[in-house]
């Protein structure tokens, strides 16, 4: 079939907008190349000792990769902003969930350590 651009359709909600957005092929290929490159970078970064930063570097790289997938492969960048709002809201809720659970879990760690020191016999 010949290439037909997605055409804007008639009056009504969504008028003047095209049916989806056709992401240029070189953008898709570029994003793929960047994702593969970042995979190599994240493996290389593991071998550098950054102390406690290693985890955050790895998470940062993963977040950049995820953002590229969402913005271009999932064409979130070109979509109605409501889609992005829904997605970002879900991420925020996960952040709140994990964050508060972590605060709670950290709060009783000293108690657990104390209990372990009392109950685990040294030398066993």
């Amino acid at each position: 079939m010949r290439e037909v651009p997605a055409q804007p359709v008639e009056a009504g909600p969504g008028q003047g907008r095209a049916l989806g957005h056709v992401v240029p092929l070189r953008v898709l290929l570029g994003v793929w190349a960047a994702l593969v490159a970042l995979t190599v970078v994240t493996i290389a970064a593991t071998r550098v000792d950054l102390g406690g930063l290693n985890l955050w570097v790895a998470l940062g790289i993963a977040t950049v990769k995820a953002a590229m997938v969402a913005l271009y492969f999932m064409h979130l960048r070109y979509d109605h902003p409501l889609n992005a709002i829904v997605f970002i809201a879900a991420l925020l809720f996960v952040a709140v969930f994990v964050g508060i659970v972590m605060l709670d879990a950290e709060a009783y760690q000293p108690t657990i350590r104390e209990y372990q020191h009392q109950t685990v016999t040294p030398g066993r």
């Binding site: 079939m1 290439e3 037909v4 651009p5 997605a6 055409q7 804007p8 359709v9 008639e10 009504g12 909600p13 969504g14 008028q15 907008r17 095209a18 049916l19 989806g20 056709v22 992401v23 092929l25 898709l28 994003v31 793929w32 994702l35 995979t39 994240t42 493996i43 593991t46 071998r47 000792d49 950054l50 790895a58 998470l59 993963a62 990769k65 995820a66 997938v69 271009y72 492969f73 999932m74 409501l82 889609n83 829904v86 997605f87 879900a90 809720f93 996960v94 969930f97 994990v98 659970v101 972590m102 879990a105 950290e106 760690q109 657990i112 350590r113 372990q116 685990v120 040294p122 066993r124």
Partner: protein
């Protein structure tokens, strides 16, 4: 075509008879325009993806809690995962995302052959991902690296003096296993040790007292490079790593509760794997429909929405890979 679009047409899924007009927009009666219908479908899909994010969010939360509470377990156990296989699977899944996004583009631009070919390629990449995952799971299963009370590492028991003979026997078998193609070896960035050395602490004599943490961590001892990677746990509260050793493991370097890591690993990768399978089913269905010519510039919502789902599966793996395979320690 545009005239048809305004008619209250038959619903898409129930209209395979529409092949006479491939790609003709079909609008359900409660939508005014194809764009409204398409954007509503997209919003619905994004809502579903939000629930997926929350579903995996629970598991990421479990990961965070256990990793914060037992860093030594994660540092110790992640080396039983093969980062090369993990990296391979990352590239495979990222490539499948590319072919999926490209397939959507082909549907949008009316390239029938491209659509069919790229959907098939996506399906093949997904199958390759599961094949690699099978190799990894099989290796875990064989070595008893499982969750909860099923965690019984095969090399752990023979390390005692009485069964030392059996221990060397097992360790002797190990190189044969390790050299088998596709076999999984723990990733060790530094001087590579055989799986047996790490797992059993009963490696070839040339290695000389492999990962004996107890000795290496002693005052004044200069630990070998490999051991320092494990010893990070000793930096925690005094004596933590050594206090919490599994009493029956017979290994000097193994922290307690290693099964937690494998429970987290199998839950996260297992749920992700189920999502890959579900995605494959959907893509196979799309493949059949695309061969029948159901999709075109005016109607490609199913391809697009399945693509969104597939990319979320990819995004989740993008986080799983560094969190499980690339722990620095």
């Amino acid at each position: 075509m545009k005239g048809e679009a305004m008619l209250p047409a038959v619903r898409s899924a129930a209209a395979p008879a529409d092949t006479a007009h491939p790609g003709a927009p079909r609008v359900a009666h409660h939508f005014a325009t194809p764009v409204q219908q398409f954007e509503s479908a997209q919003l619905g899909m994004w809502l579903f993806l939000a629930t997926e994010v929350l579903l995996f969010g629970g598991l990421f939360c479990a990961y965070a809690v256990y990793r914060a509470a037992h860093p030594e377990v994660f540092i110790y156990a992640h080396r039983f995962l093969d980062a090369r296989l993990g990296a391979l699977n990352t590239v495979v899944l990222v490539s499948s995302s590319l072919t999926m996004a490209w397939a959507v583009r082909c549907a949008q631009t009316g390239r029938q052959r491209g659509l069919v070919g790229l959907l098939a390629a996506t399906l093949l990449f997904a199958a390759a991902f599961l094949a690699v995952k099978y190799v990894e799971y099989e290796s875990k299963w064989r070595h008893g690296l499982l969750w909860g009370r099923y965690y019984h590492p095969a090399h752990g028991h023979p390390a005692g003096d009485a069964s030392g003979q059996a221990g060397t026997g097992q360790a002797g078998q190990e190189p044969a296993n390790a050299s088998a193609p596709g076999d999984e070896r723990p990733m060790a960035a530094g001087p590579n040790q055989s799986p047996a050395t790490i797992a059993a602490g009963a490696g070839p004599p040339s290695r000389g007292g492999p990962v004996t943490l107890g000795g290496a961590a002693g005052p004044g001892a200069t630990p070998p490079a490999e051991a320092t990677r494990i010893a990070a746990s000793a930096a925690g509260p005094r004596g933590l790593a050594w206090h919490l050793r599994r009493p029956d493991s017979g290994r000097h370097d193994e922290p307690r509760n290693v099964q937690i890591f494998f429970a987290v690993y199998f839950l996260m990768t297992g749920l992700h794997g189920l999502h890959v399978m579900a995605g494959m089913a959907v893509i196979a269905w799309l493949l059949v429909r695309s061969i029948r010519g159901h999709f075109g510039p005016g109607y490609f919502a199913p391809v697009d929405l399945a693509g969104l789902y597939w990319h979320v599966v990819d995004v989740i793996w993008i986080f799983l890979f560094p969190l499980l395979y690339l722990i620095h320690g």
